[in-house]
């Protein structure tokens, strides 16, 4: 691993090093890929509680009389359904229906909103927002550099966050709460990227270290475990979540990504609507599809998927799934779109490994009654 002046560190960098985190370059950020073991961290989140530093993610605050009109224009989901205190997963779309970014939009007040954007796309998104906000009475503030973000995930997450924020456990799934933490204005949302119950703390840089160390120390008896990006990637793929830039991008639409539910054609006009309407009517020619290995082996991104001996596409994301004890992956497979259970093969190290088309999500937590959305 090389250190470069261009690499950015989160406020928790020193904490990660002290905890023995193995630091890697993740899209220009120095973040821990793991502390002790990806498998043990994965297990902690599925059964107890894991803490993740996700401070690299960006925060854009949107406010003003036309904030809702602005968000309805850039977002394919219907954020108009949100009442203050609620959040929604959604896709920002371009004119071609491609995905500019996948984000979580929280309505904090009547005219105040928070959009949590991906790290690698924060600057691109903000430029896109500024362009689309012209002529609208809306204020945009990119506060990504001023905030840190900590995800607390797992069946014990509610008990752990209660130690620091007594009101947080009463949040519904995709609820959002503004509150002062250590005297600093903060936001807690009941969201995550692991397929378990969980919370995300969005707090000013000044208090990130305190929030992190308090959650870890006080939550230790409940099993709170620091987790790296390695476990996070495995957890999110098992849960069927997209990794922007790898699974979806400006050239792939929500329909192709098998996330059609985030497109609300009936909500009124938005950027990309007509392209998406056409695609919905005609049907997609490729779709992000789950694949599960039936033999030993760990699939990797880029591995070809064969159906009936013919290459149907390549995997975008792939890993060993500890929950399924099998290799899993997702890739854009071309029409005719295969149904779950269809036999296929994945090429690994030049060898065809037996696999089948799988339902996504690959894993549904027994701790969550129903997948929140």
């Amino acid at each position: 691993m090389s250190t470069s002046a261009l690499l950015r560190r989160t406020a928790l960098f020193e904490s990660h090093v002290r905890l023995g985190g193995r630091i890697v370059d993740f899209h220009g950020w120095e973040l821990p890929v793991q502390y002790e073991s990806i498998l043990r961290e994965h297990e902690a989140v599925r059964h107890r509680c894991g803490l993740f530093d996700v401070s690299h993610m960006g925060q854009v605050f949107v406010s003003g009389p036309q904030a809702l009109a602005f968000l309805q224009k850039v977002d394919s989901n219907d954020v108009g359904r949100l009442v203050p205190g609620r959040a929604l997963y959604s896709h920002l779309t371009n004119e071609r229906g491609g995905v500019v970014d996948d984000v979580i939009v929280s309505r904090l007040g009547e005219d105040r909103w928070l959009v949590v954007v991906n790290a690698a796309t924060a600057d691109k998104d903000f430029a896109w927002f500024q362009k689309q906000a012209r002529g609208l009475d809306v204020e945009l503030r990119n506060e990504s550099d001023r905030h840190g973000m900590i995800a607390v995930q797992g069946p014990k997450a509610a008990e752990v966050v209660a130690l620091l924020a007594a009101k947080a456990p009463s949040l519904p799934r995709f609820g959002a709460l503004e509150l002062p933490l250590f005297g600093q204005p903060s936001v807690i949302t009941r969201t995550g990227y692991t397929g378990e119950d969980g919370f995300e703390f969005i707090v000013p840089n000044e208090i990130v270290v305190r929030v992190w160390s308090d959650l870890l120390t006080m939550g230790r008896s409940l099993g709170a475990t620091p987790c790296g990006l390695g476990a996070r990637d495995v957890l999110r793929l098992e849960a069927g979540y997209l990794l922007y830039g790898q699974d979806v991008d400006d050239d792939h639409t929500p329909y192709e990504a098998n996330y059609g539910w985030v497109v609300k054609l009936g909500k009124g006009d938005f950027i990309g609507r007509s392209a998406l309407e056409t695609q919905k009517a005609e049907g997609v020619r490729r779709r992000l599809t789950g694949v599960k290995l039936l033999e030993r082996g760990v699939p990797r991104p880029g591995a070809p998927v064969l159906i009936g001996g013919r290459e149907a596409g390549k995997l975008c994301s792939a890993t060993f799934s500890p929950a399924l004890q099998a290799g899993i992956g997702v890739g854009y497979l071309s029409a005719p779109l295969p149904e779950p259970g269809t036999p296929c093969a994945v090429v690994l190290h030049g060898r065809e490994v037996r696999a089948e088309i799988a339902k996504v999500p690959f894993y549904q937590s027994p701790h969550l009654a129903k997948k929140g959305a």
Binding site: S37, I38, L39, V298, F320
Partner: protein, 131 residues
């Protein structure tokens, strides 16, 4: 359990014991992270020094294991294939990978002893790492 000090190493982090047993170093198992699959070579296969003959896969990636010397594979560790975490837990013991019968014993001279391997790990060359 082998004494790491008595082993010979190559730059790709495999070790060779005097009886022909091959495994990967503690440094390598830490770099590879959680091993989830081991695909050992077939017994009876003839391998050349430096030939990829075994695959160790972690959650993160797949790693080729190179024969430290030429010879015939005489044993493969079925326990490690069944419980791949052995490679992480006991890289110098139950986590061995395979055993070979060297055909060119003189090739051992190209390997590093424990002290030189330690120096190699501290060098910038190792920081780039093949694993």
């Amino acid at each position: 359990m082998f004494d790491p000090k008595s082993l010979k190493y190559q730059k790709t982090h495999e070790w060779l014991a005097p009886d022909g047993t091959v495994g990967i170093s503690d440094h390598a198992q830490k770099e590879i992270t959680d091993v989830v699959f081991v695909e050992p070579p077939k017994v009876g296969r003839a391998v050349k020094q430096g030939e990829a003959c075994c695959v160790v896969e972690s959650v993160k990636a797949a790693f080729d294991i190179y024969a430290p010397v030429s010879g015939e594979i005489v044993a493969a560790n079925a326990d490690a294939a069944k419980d791949p975490a052995l490679v992480n837990r006991e890289p110098y013991g139950k986590g061995w990978l395979f055993k070979l019968k060297p055909s060119k014993p003189e090739e051992t001279s190209a390997l590093m002893d424990a002290r030189r391997y330690e120096e190699f790990l501290a060098s910038p060359e190792a920081a780039g790492g093949s694993h």
